[in-house]
């Protein structure tokens, strides 16, 4: 039997009586008070993350021009957006590159500029129809003169992730940053003990419909994220040893703030987007509390050799987040400096802000309308002919 239901916790939030702690603070609270007492007292634990998440983008509806146009090709600040939907709907992906500026500007920058309130140049083409006669349009849009603009990110908030190393004798440029030759460094990304899905490893409270903090706005979990792989090998504490669960998130761009969402350029890799996400975890009972007490020392991640250009990168070892945060780790007897790619400072800021919003009765928790799958097979893309094709 649980101590509290979602409704009971929301009632306390409404009255301004909810007790909220961040996923870092809860560790000390439980050490001091014990699980039983802490589970009674604490209602919500807040988590946070601020890392580069390539699988992000934005749906946008421009409104209709006079005469109207059924846009077939769309560019925003010279970055191509997908227009194969209705007349003035488009989707711009974070990693799409500018056709005039290349890797220095991309979809993520368009999104950031729109959130910042800047004017964005819209150019669209069409073949023209009886109902949509216009064949071309050039104008400027901003967040106040368009209809909807909402972020829809197919894959965010990875539950654990790889640690990247490079054993080759040349410098390599990856989405995990610049990796120096001969194990000159390793990089890692997730906020460890503060990371949302590491605090709810079996997705008991985080599911479809969960209200989240995304980029400064209130958004929702829309679906399981792409490549959601809950079947990943797990430690005794239930925490996956490498990248596992993911979330598809949705949120209103017009409510976002560039303090919590930023475009990023990874040299010789391309454009990505730092997305700030915070998820509240209701402390329904002692079991849930124990899950949120996960420490950096208990979260392990595999080190992969990004120097090997293969889907199956060799594993060079496994390290804890405590070791990664210490500044150096050991790989095959060699001391290797570590560097984060996701901002713990920002993740903390988000968890703290979410805590304040819940305490003040501005953010309510939600019971998932459906759970995320706990079984999923990760497929690979193999090169093959048709089933009935003969050699």
């Amino acid at each position: 039997m649980g101590y509290k239901s979602f409704d009971e916790i929301n009632e306390k939030i409404k009255c301004g009586k909810a007790v909220v702690a961040t996923a870092e603070e809860i560790i000390d609270i439980v050490t001091e008070k014990g699980v039983k007492q802490a589970a009674k007292e604490v209602d919500v634990v807040t988590t946070g993350t601020f890392g580069p998440m390539c699988s992000s983008g934005m749906f946008i509806n421009f409104g209709h021009s006079e005469p109207p146009i059924r846009m077939t090709k769309v560019w925003l600040n010279d970055v191509s957006a997908y227009a194969g939907i209705a007349a003035v709907d488009a989707y711009i992906g974070a990693t799409e590159l500018s056709e005039t500026r290349g890797m220095e500007y991309g979809g993520a920058h368009v999104i950031e500029d729109l959130i910042a309130g800047k004017d964005i140049k819209l150019y669209a083409e069409s073949y023209g129809t009886d109902c949509y006669p216009r064949k071309e349009i050039t104008t400027y849009i901003n967040k106040n003169n368009i209809n909807q603009a909402y972020m829809f990110n197919p894959r965010n908030v990875y539950q654990n992730y790889a640690v990247a190393a490079n054993t080759t004798n040349r410098i390599i440029h990856t989405y995990m940053g610049t990796l120096l030759p001969n194990l000159g460094n390793v990089t890692y990304t997730t906020s460890g003990e503060l990371s949302p899905l590491l605090n709810d490893p079996y997705y008991r409270t985080i599911g479809i419909g969960t209200r989240v903090f995304i980029g400064g706005a209130q958004g929702y979990v829309a679906w399981e994220g792409t490549q959601h792989n809950p079947g990943q090998k797990r430690g005794e504490n239930g925490v996956p040893l490498s990248s596992a669960g993911t979330l598809a998130l949705i949120g209103d761009i017009k409510q976002m703030d560039t303090r919590f969402i930023r475009a990023a350029v990874f040299e010789k890799y391309g454009v990505s987007m730092f997305v700030g996400v915070g998820i509240p975890i209701p402390i329904l009972d002692e079991d849930m509390l124990i899950m949120t007490c996960i420490k950096n020392s208990e979260i392990l991640a595999n080190i992969y050799d990004y120097g090997v250009q293969s889907r199956n990168k060799p594993v060079l070892g496994s390290v804890s987040y405590e070791e990664l945060r210490s500044g150096s780790i050991e790989i095959s007897g060699k001391k290797v400096p570590t560097a984060p790619l996701s901002s713990l400072k920002k993740a903390r800021e988000i968890a703290e802000l979410l805590k304040q919003q819940i305490t003040k009765g501005e953010f309510f928790i939600t019971q998932p309308v459906a759970s995320l799958p706990l079984e999923n097979k990760a497929n690979t893309l193999d090169i093959r002919g048709l089933e009935n094709e003969k050699d």
Partner: protein, 135 residues
């Protein structure tokens, strides 16, 4: 007093010379070695700060030149545009001098300009493009 940052490039035959000893003793210069890559019978590189009177610095540089050692003055500096920084830490992955580091308590980026060797690796590695070179 004046302070300069300089790289010294030693030909393989010159690495045995006690250059810094003479700079300190004969030219009254304060030497702070920032990076050294020197082995016997191999080309070497030494990056250091030199502090002293203008006259002593000039004489010291001339002495270096007279020993057959090439030098290059650092005229550029790295500027960290802190207001745009998200403190992700990507730059610390490539910084060879330890000038860029994460504070282990606040997890804010810290930049010790004194240690910087102006290698410019951080300029490219920064995803937010908040590290730049001043000329």
């Amino acid at each position: 007093m004046k302070k300069i940052k300089v790289s010294l490039y030693f030909p393989a035959a010159e690495v045995t010379k006690p250059i810094t000893y003479h700079l300190i003793k004969d030219y009254d210069l304060q030497i702070n070695i920032l990076n050294a890559d020197i082995s016997l019978n191999r080309q070497g590189k030494l990056v250091m700060d030199m502090i002293g009177s203008e006259w002593n610095i000039e004489s010291g540089l001339k002495y270096i030149e007279d020993q057959g050692i090439k030098y290059k003055l650092f005229t550029k500096t790295i500027i960290w545009q802190e207001e745009g920084c998200v403190h992700c830490g990507a730059c610390t992955a490539v910084c060879p001098s330890g000038a860029l580091q994460m504070d282990k308590e606040s997890w804010s980026l810290t930049f010790e300009k004194e240690k910087c060797m102006i290698c410019e690796l951080c300029v490219k590695a920064c995803p937010l493009k908040v590290m730049c070179v001043s000329i």
